[in-house]
């Protein structure tokens, strides 16, 4: 733990010196916030919490991309092997990835809140404790997805391809960019198998003040289980050396990190009411402002 903390402090400092990091992790989410409010919110303050929920989710999810690329680059450049010769274990190194990412995400989240309140006229702060819980667990979980991608890929190119596929799915089928309410019914059902859906839904619910602690608790538990599984797998598959390759069969471990969400998705599709709540969140946007009307969501009990 001590080594993790030492590494965390240095990694935060290094990230803040990196222009690509500043752009992709800090400037771009703020760009999303402004764009969403200008294009979709149309200056209606009541729409801001719903849109902020989506932007917060994007901010939190984005960490998986940067971390996976960084870890693979460190391995390819021989940086990891320098750490390997020192008394540092893989757990400390991976743990510092999660911690550093968390401390780097928080300031952006705060700035997004302040802009929403002071510039776009958001009336209240939502349920701030619920937001904090979702941001915290979300940042850790999606970072650990980044670590697992780094663990099952051999080159930067491969990492980029996998990241693009995962990122596109998270982006377009979770409600983070396109509200779930406007997606086809079958795609809404598919979205229930994605961790991103629980993050987006939880954050929007918390921002709108519509989520109960039971609902947020369910999201937190699902993400926490995903975090535990992904971190455990990425630690088990961790490789220090550039020449140590992972077999095609071992890459299937990436699916293991999705098992908690596959189970949750099955349960939600059969018995859950999450789609109804997500639809209600989206409809509240229509009630509060002049956002597009949401189509009927499928009856999750059918």
């Amino acid at each position: 733990m001590k080594h993790s903390w030492t590494l965390t402090k240095v990694r935060v400092r290094m990230a803040l010196r990196s222009r690509p990091f500043i752009f992709f992790s800090m400037v771009m989410p703020l760009g999303f916030l402004v764009g969403y409010n200008v294009i979709f919110g149309r200056g209606v303050p009541e729409a801001v919490p719903f849109l902020l929920g989506a932007v917060l989710a994007l901010t939190v999810m984005g960490s998986f991309w940067g971390l996976s690329m960084q870890l693979v680059q460190y391995r390819e450049a021989g940086i990891l092997r320098r750490f390997r010769i020192a008394p540092v274990d893989a757990g400390a190194l991976l743990g510092s990835s999660l911690l550093a990412n968390y401390f780097l995400v928080l300031p952006t989240v705060v700035v997004e809140f302040l802009i929403s309140r002071w510039i776009f006229g958001m009336h209240d702060w939502g349920n701030i404790l619920q937001v904090f819980a979702m941001v915290s667990i979300g940042a850790a979980t999606f970072s650990s997805f980044g670590l697992i991608v780094a663990s099952v890929t051999n080159t930067m190119q491969e990492t980029q391809v996998i990241n693009n596929v995962i990122w596109s799915i998270f982006l377009f089928v979770s409600g983070a960019t396109i509200p779930l309410g406007v997606l086809p019914h079958w795609l809404q059902r598919v979205s229930l198998f994605l961790p991103a859906t629980y993050l987006v839904g939880g954050l929007q619910g918390a921002m709108l003040g519509r989520a109960t602690w039971n609902e947020i608790g369910g999201d937190v538990i699902a993400l926490a289980v995903g975090l535990g599984v992904a971190f455990g797998i990425s630690r088990a598959l961790f490789r220090w050396e550039p020449e140590s390759r992972i077999s095609a069969r071992s890459k299937a471990w990436i699916l293991a990190a999705m098992v908690p969400f596959l189970l949750l998705g099955v349960w939600e599709n059969l018995y859950g009411t999450r789609l109804i709540h997500l639809r209600e969140n989206f409809q509240s946007l229509g009630e509060r402002g002049d956002a597009p009307e949401a189509p009927d969501a499928p009856d999750p009990t059918k």
Partner: protein, 306 residues
Amino acid sequence: MPQPIIQAENLVKNYDDVRALRGVSFEVAEGEVFGLLGPNGAGKTTTVEILEGLRSPDSGSARVAGLDPEKSGMAFKEKIGAVLQATALPEKLKVIEALELFSRFYSRRANPEALLKRFQLEEKRNAFYSTLSGGQKQRLALALALVNDPMVLFLDEPTAGLDPQVRREIYDIVEELRREKKTILLTTHYIEEAERLCDRVAIIDSGQVIAIGTPRELKQTSAGTTRVSVRLANPAANGSLRLLEGVTDVRELDGAYVLHSTQPPRTIVALVKQLEAESNQLESLEITSPSLEDVFIELTGRRLRD
């Protein structure tokens, strides 16, 4: 020999079809600078990485500072320092941060500020790693290898790819460590480096140790002779050079004849007389003491960098 601090016993390592090590054995005493000299691909790095605990041998055993490198985990890492052959640091890490970061990993720590001074990196203390020159990066690598004041220091090709001036700077640092009686295992394919820095040298080729001893011992076992290297206008008559006074061996290398002689002056006089008799001419003549390169050529029939 005092109690060995490094022991490699019959190390064997294969990479698929490639036999990287075929039974490498040697011992290094405490306070000794020991060199592994050999061409690229000889098995030097594999040997060192087994001793550093970075690779597992297929068979054989290794012990460093009384510990099994592969099984002793953090306790082992606390005792060693290493300059690895292919390694780097994050681009945006500053020099002083690197030293402070790595020193915090160890229970026994050298003062980062003192290391900065010792390795002449004070001016670069706040420079990013990416802005350092090759020589500065290597000096930093050496400083990092000493952050825990290690019992054993591994230097894997510490001067490879560096220009001659920087190489000499690194030699000075290693010589200073040698004076401090630090145990060092150094790999190199530079003859000069092995001769200048090492108390003892193991010559390694194709995964095997083919000779071991002090540089002086190795050179003496190499027939203990002086090399008289001559270039002639016409090829010498078959076997005639071998019959010259004092000559123990003759080799043809890169178009020159290398005469191994126990009595160089007499050999040269005899050579000149013979050339006159054969109406041949001497184009060049060079007299050299035997080097480790000669030892390597004698043992393998190849130059070190072939």
